[in-house]
Amino acid sequence: MRRLLFKNLVHGPLTEAAPDKDDAAVAELAAQVDREARRRLGRTLSIREVDAGSCNGCELEIHALQNVLYDLERFGMRFVASPRHADVLLVTGPVTANMRQALERTYQATPHPKWVVAVGDCARDGGVFSGSYACVGGVSAVVPVDLHIGTCPPSPQALLKGLLALLERAEQGSSTAMEEEARVAPAPS
């Protein structure tokens, strides 16, 4: 292990190695996310991932966000174990009928201000699963969604881009949840 640790020290972090165009694009994107994240939330953005019926393809790519090449945590964004610690719910899947209540409860357990990001084509409108008796058909049918990140499944780069877009929205100081609540809340008497 010492040899491996020593090698890692000498070689420096893999994260900054940008041998080809692909890695350069990640680095460029990374810098943007970093600026926005700091401006809005200091150095933290806590994300709770909720699988609401995905095929697990999206989960694989969300996992990849945490590998040494994308290293999401360097921007202060991290995945948390409880919705009570979360700013963002990252929801995947067409929302199965059997997961609907669990998603609603997770959303209710998340404190304000909160944002919901629907990840993957099926989280938008059910995708290839739309029309099924077992699927609600899209995250926005159950909880207010601030952003959709499409494709099947989105690459880690697309996910990073999406989080950047979300930070821009957060910068404007609103979330769909707030708008929704403002709309349904009774006028002050």
Binding site: E59, H63, F79, M99
Partner: protein
């Protein structure tokens, strides 16, 4: 004495079913088959139904021949197989939920996939509209002093799929784990019915995202078997190439994640990097990181062009350089070995009874690999070994993966050398009559079964997809008994069953 072959010979053979025989048996033949399973002369490969028909796929242990037996059940009842052979119980519970077929004497009569939240009952049978009626799920009673329960899920703490685990513990020691699954049931088999082949293939590739290549391959092979066609040689080889890349990526991810669950972060980071290299090569060679929708009935949608072969050869060199020292680190770290050796032992007896596929079975002495038996091209022209261990613990499941990585590297090398040239697609012919096909394909997790019936218009009349997890999930319950709660993540990750593949 009855064997699968004599049962099929004595029954009414169904025409237009390939490549294995399918035969219509009577109640007596059905019960004889259940007895063969009980005596472990056969392994259960799957059990599913149509509105008035129940099917069971079996593998003869001695001859390694596979076949399907069907029983007509006009009154929607059939003799339970689970009553004699426990691995069938969940399949029969699911069959009742989806098709409304009742297994007589089924020992567990609770619903399985139907949580009472659909607007419909028996979607694959005589579908009836019904208002959702969610009711509390009666977990098995646990009695004893000083026991406590730990409910976990369906939303878990990590980035994993949803499912519910009900632990009963005595202090730190788990005395029982009961799983409740079905949360990600998407109704895929119902969605497929009536679809043309192409959209159904896209659905098959999304049964379990981590095995998208294996599922697409199994579906394509079943369609091709039904229609009596073969994909062009180059496509056959490219499919296997993708399948081995998928196996590599998943095994890297799993080994790293198991180490991470023992809080050994350095190997998690290193294996995560290796996995990412595989995905980037897949993207550059086939245009998709997970290689979704690349295998289609009739061939492959993307050829390996340009310097694709060199890119893959470069990946092999990279892995061959980095992998051995990571294995050495795994092997020589006492604190890590302390967590994995002797943890979560699966007995050879249970692995055999349940027909556990993949690394779960092979770490407990079950040497089954669908690439070998029943076998499919191009593996018959390639040299590879099926690693086997007897220990059955978390460590053995890690070592099987390590050995399989080595085998996959060697396989990919051979494929690059022998890759034939030519066409990559041969459009599937139109179908003018009812045809049936079946395929068994070795995914990274184990054998995937796809059975389908095409109607006279060439559309899917019925398609059944059976994930290897069906026969692995129940074993996780057995494996965890007597282990401490803190070792559950290790046991669970070493199995890495698919929730989506199981819930369908």
């Amino acid at each position: 004495m009855a064997t699968l072959r004599t049962l099929i010979a004595a029954a009414q053979l169904i025409a237009q079913h390939a490549p294995w025989p399918r035969a219509l048996v009577g109640q007596a033949g059905w019960l004889e088959a259940a007895a063969l399973l009980q005596q472990q002369q056969c392994t259960l490969l799957g059990l599913w139904g149509e509105p008035n028909l129940v099917h069971m796929a079996l593998l003869d242990a001695a001859s390694q021949e596979a076949g399907i037996l069907s029983l007509a059940c006009p009154d929607r009842r059939y003799p339970s197989v689970g009553h004699l052979h426990a691995p069938a119980i969940r399949l029969e519970r699911a069959l009742r939920d989806l098709s409304g077929l009742e297994a007589e004497k089924l020992p567990d009569r609770r619903p399985w996939l139907d949580h009472g939240r659909w607007q419909i009952r028996h979607p694959l049978g005589d579908a009836e509209n019904a208002a959702p009626e969610p009711s509390p799920y009666p977990f098995l009673a646990v009695e004893g002093e000083s026991l406590h329960q730990i409910p976990v899920g369906p939303v878990h703490a990590g980035i994993i799929e949803p499912g519910h685990f009900r632990f009963t513990a005595s202090g730190e020691t788990i005395v029982r784990l009961e799983e409740r699954l079905g949360y990600v049931h998407k109704g895929i088999e119902t969605l497929m019915a009536g679809q043309p082949i192409e959209p159904a293939a896209r659905l098959a590739g999304r049964v379990s995202g981590d095995s998208t290549v294996a599922y697409a391959l199994a579906f394509a092979r079943a369609v091709e078997a039904a229609l009596g066609v073969n994909a062009p040689a180059r496509a056959v080889w490219l499919r296997a190439l993708m399948a081995e890349l998928e196996r590599l990526a998943n095994h890297f991810g799993d080994i790293g994640a198991i180490c991470n669950d023992a809080a050994f972060a350095i190997l998690h980071a290193q294996f995560g990097w290796l996995r990412e290299q595989v995905l980037r090569v897949a993207e550059s060679c086939f245009g998709h990181r997970l290689m979704m929708d690349r295998i289609v009935p009739g061939g492959v949608s993307h050829d390996l062009t340009g310097n694709g072969a060199e890119t893959i050869a470069g990946l092999l060199a990279q892995v061959r350089q980095g992998f051995p020292e990571l294995v050495e680190l795994y092997d020589n770290t006492a604190s890590l070995q302390d967590r994995t050796v002797g943890t979560g032992i699966l007995s050879a007896e249970l692995a055999r009874q349940f027909g556990a596929g993949g690394y779960v079975g092979r770490a407990s002495g079950r040497a089954f690999d669908a690439r070998r038996m029943p076998g499919y091209a191009p593996y018959d022209q390639l040299q590879f070994e099926v690693p086997l261990l007897a220990e059955g613990d978390v460590d053995a499941r890690v070592w099987i993966r390590i050995r399989e990585v080595e085998q996959s590297l060697a396989l990919i090398e051979q494929m690059l050398r022998q890759l034939p040239s030519g066409a990559t697609m041969r459009p599937v012919p139109a179908c003018a009559e009812e045809r049936e096909g079946v395929a068994l394909v070795e995914g990274f997790r184990g054998d995937i079964l796809v059975w389908l019936k095409l109607d006279a218009a060439g559309k899917i009349a019925r398609c059944h997809l059976r994930d290897p997890s069906w026969f692995q999930w129940p074993l996780l319950e057995a494996v965890i008994e007597g282990n401490i709660v803190a070792d559950f993540p290790l046991c669970n990750k070493s199995f890495n069953c698919s929730y989506s593949g199981h819930d369908l």
